[in-house]
């Protein structure tokens, strides 16, 4: 997946690091110190529809269907996450206990066109 640059218009992944200190939450989230709140943004013109940003087979299938059925489809394709990973958090709960848990699908790793 391309990382978004200021001039990037097509579907890409925008990397955003959030420091828990900036949220004022370092008193209860013990580890890590922050996390990547990445998100997907950018346009998905028809020739990119189905390009999941990480594998071409799905894209060629969709692209062939588009060519076969209708060169200018009515629907639009959107820039969405296509791969995400969990975030391991160590935090204090309301009783002062230390809790370690893995929050699933917290970090967007790849973006692609639906």
């Amino acid at each position: 997946t391309p990382i978004c640059e200021p001039e990037t218009l097509l579907c890409c992944r925008r990397d955003y690091y959030v420091d828990f200190q900036e949220l004022g939450w370092r008193d209860w989230i013990l580890q890590p110190e922050g996390y990547q709140l990445n998100y997907c943004s950018g346009q998905c013109p028809p020739h990119l529809a189905g390009s999941p940003g990480i594998a071409a087979s799905f894209h060629s299938t969709v692209f062939n269907l588009l060519k076969a059925n209708n060169p200018s489809p009515a629907g639009t394709s959107c820039c969405v996450p296509t791969a995400r990973r969990p975030l391991s958090l160590l935090y204090l709960d309301g009783n002062g206990n230390v809790v370690k848990t893995d929050v699933p699908d917290m970090v967007v790793e790849a973006c692609g066109c639906s």
Binding site: Y35, L37, Q43, N97, V99, K100
Partner: protein
Amino acid sequence: EGAGSACPSCGGPALALQAERALVLELAKQQILKGLHLTSRPRITHPPPQAALSRAVLRLQPGTVAPRKGEEVISFATTTDSSTSTCSSMLTFQLSTLQSHHLYHARLWLHVLPTPPGTLHLRIFQRSPGRRHGRLPALLAEHQINAPGWHALILPSGGLRGEESGTVKLQLDCRPLKDNGTAAAGPPRQRLDTAAYHRPFLELKIRPYEPGAGRTRRR
């Protein structure tokens, strides 16, 4: 980016950097609370001592994978009787999660001070929730300790029950063993160390009940 630029996704006017930053931080808060199934951030009224906290963080070092769809919890004890360093302490823990989660691994970590030579026979009782005072609490586990330092004592995860309030009370009772293996009478001389850095704690592994598990439990 610049004021004149358009949002690459929707074509609308791009957010000013400051506004975008504030929006992203708000999204981060919502995403984390939702991921932890919390409606608001916890209010920490009695944080554990920093020294005990750093020990816990070391023990639960992130990066090692938490149990799948589960949680690891470290709960620090508050001793309720005045003689905090004898072996007949009552340890109280606040564990509201026991009501809504299945407990499948439990260990009590105790720090034993250097004691006169010999083995220590330790019994761990739980005052069952709702039981009237004065009646003997239930025996949870017995261990023999023959060296000072930290000891991780396995507890039967099925036996550990929290009260409605989420409180778990463990009564310790230990005696030095005589050479013939019987427990010596008289007041316990061995000393537990419950000072800040060596505060006893429970190490638990829990996971949410699977949907429908309640039916099998009820049956």
